[in-house]
Symmetry: C2
Subunit: 433 residues, 2 copies
């Protein structure tokens, strides 16, 4: 029996119980930070030699030269040929849909001209070089390659490099095939803080990048945090979460499996159901028990449900949405009749899955939108990974003589108010008489 938390939004201390349920904070680990700082320093100072040493040590490899951790396009193409046709077709279908969706995120440079001839605008351009981190071993997911590389490619980034560790020389063919499909330019079989350092600082064989994206373990996260500022990084993700709002009319097995699909990720993953229908909540609990039994990852899923899951009775769908806005979930399923009517009320969520047919898992792989989403309530202030994450903007100002005259007077006043006389004079030089 899973002993899953049951809450009621009408309970007097529901707010406190909800805070307890959501409590999660990444703990800073000084020892990890010190180890990472030393790795970063070594790679910055000694380049490939340090990368090789750390890789041989941590990944139990026997690299003699940098050439041995570089894969060629031919290596990627070969992996694509080796994988089963059904998986190749699925990867290609997913990639095509992800590409189509992300093209809607492209943004255009814009300008406007004022009456006096002054032109203002913003020029939007892709970054030059991006690096993608892909974990090795069990958590080496081809879907993650597609989701990170395709938006960069759609943005028009010149060069997309990818790092993936090969512990004991093992690589996942599906991951290499996904890299071929996504259009990765360069692939290095290295991982950990040493790979992040190589991407951030560059080495003799690896060109430094402008931005590093992709998930990783605690060492990778600490390294990304440490190089933030020198290069751009994506958000550092917490455990994955799903919040399902259901009116009680969806098959309880479907909803239970949606909750389990999140719970099977890891013990810290969080699955929450909100429903106004008490009988339905009971049915889902029964389904969870039943469906868990023959899942390969049942131990992980059961622990996740017991420690971090919850079944919450609410008064109405509207109240469920208010609770959801407070949680700002990574994934929000709205499994109700006419779900689109609730969109305007949904304020914070990484991705919103509407209707009974939209399983969250579709979004993980192939619906089109990105599966890299803000976790742990950060949907309050951040967005899914997208094309916009690989574009940047330059302001454009082109003053006519008349415009410079008008603006020079205003700027002159304000600069003097701030005690910046050279600013005032520079502006006033362009004021007529």
């Amino acid at each position: 029996m899973i002993d899953m938390r049951r809450l009621k939004s009408s309970d007097a201390d529901f707010g406190r119980q909800l805070d307890e349920l959501l409590a999660w904070e990444s703990v800073a680990d000084t020892q990890v930070e010190d180890t990472v700082a030393e790795i970063l320093r070594q790679v910055r100072d000694r380049g490939d030699a340090a990368v090789i040493e750390y890789t041989n040590h941590f990944d139990r490899r026997n690299l003699q030269s940098a050439a041995e951790f570089s894969l060629s396009q031919a290596d990627l193409e070969a992996a694509l040929e080796r994988i089963p046709a059904a998986e190749r077709e699925s990867l290609e279908a997913a990639a095509a849909r992800i590409r189509d969706y992300h093209r809607h995120q492209l943004q255009e440079s814009w300008q406007y001209r004022e009456a006096d001839g002054t032109v203002l605008g913003q020029q939007i351009a892709p970054m030059e070089r991006v690096g993608i981190y892909v974990p090795g071993g069990k958590a080496s997911y081809p879907s993650s390659v597609l989701m990170n590389a395709i938006p960069a490619r759609v943005a028009g980034v010149d060069s997309v490099a990818m790092v993936v560790p090969a512990p004991d020389d093992q690589l996942n063919d599906l991951v290499l095939a996904a890299a071929a499909i996504a259009g990765v330019d360069r692939l290095y079989t290295i991982g950990g803080a040493q790979a992040v350092a190589a991407l951030a600082y560059g080495t003799e064989s690896i060109e430094g990048v402008d931005k590093i994206v992709g998930p990783g373990n605690i060492f990778v996260a600490a390294a990304k945090r440490a190089v933030f500022g020198r290069v751009a990084i994506d958000m550092i993700a917490g455990p994955s979460e799903i919040l399902v709002i259901c009116d009680g009319e969806t098959d309880p097995d479907w909803i239970a499996m949606d909750l389990l699909s999140q719970a099977e990720h890891d013990q810290q993953a969080q699955s929450i159901l909100l429903s106004p229908d008490a009988d339905f909540i009971d049915s889902v609990a029964v389904s969870l028990e039943k469906l868990l039994a023959d899942l390969p990852r049942r131990d992980i899923a059961a622990q996740s449900l017991a420690e971090r899951g919850a079944l919450i009775r609410v008064d109405s769908i509207e109240e469920a949405i208010a609770v959801s806005n407070r949680i700002a979930p990574e994934h929000l399923e709205v499994s109700v009749e006419e779900p689109e009517q609730y969109l305007p009320q949904i304020r914070h969520a990484g991705a919103i899955f509407l209707g009974r047919y939209t399983a969250e898992a579709l979004g993980d792989y192939c619906a089109g939108p990105n599966h890299v989403l803000p976790t742990s309530g950060t949907a309050r202030f951040s967005s899914p990974l997208g094309v916009y994450d690989f574009l940047k903007r330059s302001s454009i100002i082109y003053c006519s003589p008349q415009g410079a005259d008008k603006l020079g007077r205003i700027a002159g006043n304000l600069a003097r108010g701030e005690g910046l006389e050279a600013h005032a004079r520079s502006a006033r030089y362009r004021v007529k008489g």
Copy 2:
């Protein structure tokens, strides 16, 4: 005599010399980080009481209660009434232009429907609460209030809070007036790491925010870095820089004053001129010497030019642009004939000032674009502060039964390839027969 660096792009070791010129790195200071960590902990645990203690200590104040560090709308309006009419008009004119420009950055939610009825899209919404840090004392700039608060307001943020320290109980009326004009909702006269902590965690009297923006000293920067992840932050800025490209046909006094307007910010500011005209470079050097003499901040400007400035002879405007792309300057002035022809070649710059009449100082105050710009080469991967910094996105997926059937098959295949069986089953439940 200012002993300003002179370089030639044709020199064999120009690349190395350029690297030396640009070398600048914010140094992590462990003692500062430890102090800040303790302040953050105290404010998180003890709220207002800790904020009051630190403020009394660092800002030499004698606060007895939280009410004393809160200003009302009436206080802001009173400051607006007190300032001279010319300055009020200039602030209002600047605010109107900044608002107009930033309205062009608003983005709309979008959706599209596929042939089988599946709907995909992205919902774009403002953040709820934003906090703006404004430095106190000498560096307390009203223009900074406008540049940080107006984009948040244009984005539609519900509540904009501002913190500004009042050392020895001194506040700048222009800063309070700018807050009134920009539409700041709440103003707290606190600063330093304790103000960042109050905004990030919330206290009894200060509601926690979702994002913190604005410049500050080393303690503020360390505090922002430490709370990054719990809340969003803007970039942590380095010293300000200007790169001027001139064909030699602009008045050398104008160009010299543009360089000086950057140099007067602080000793670490960087002013660089690129020109193919050797005589013009000499003329600018003479102008610099002459114009520096009666600047109130001449000591700061002279030190900045001597330590970090450079006059660089290039072969052509095209080569100057290539050098500029390598530098990725915060401010780029293109003071040449028909400057717009070079826009497509300019790859990395925070703001681009085109033509002889567009003094960089106009952009600092009132042209319209934001003056919060990426420094130290970070224009390679980041953008001016904008409305987009206060918006966030939620993906939308609404599958038709037909769409769920098609996508469920693909997702099922890929989930099994990744060993995630609950994902596969959740997707396959929606596949027909």
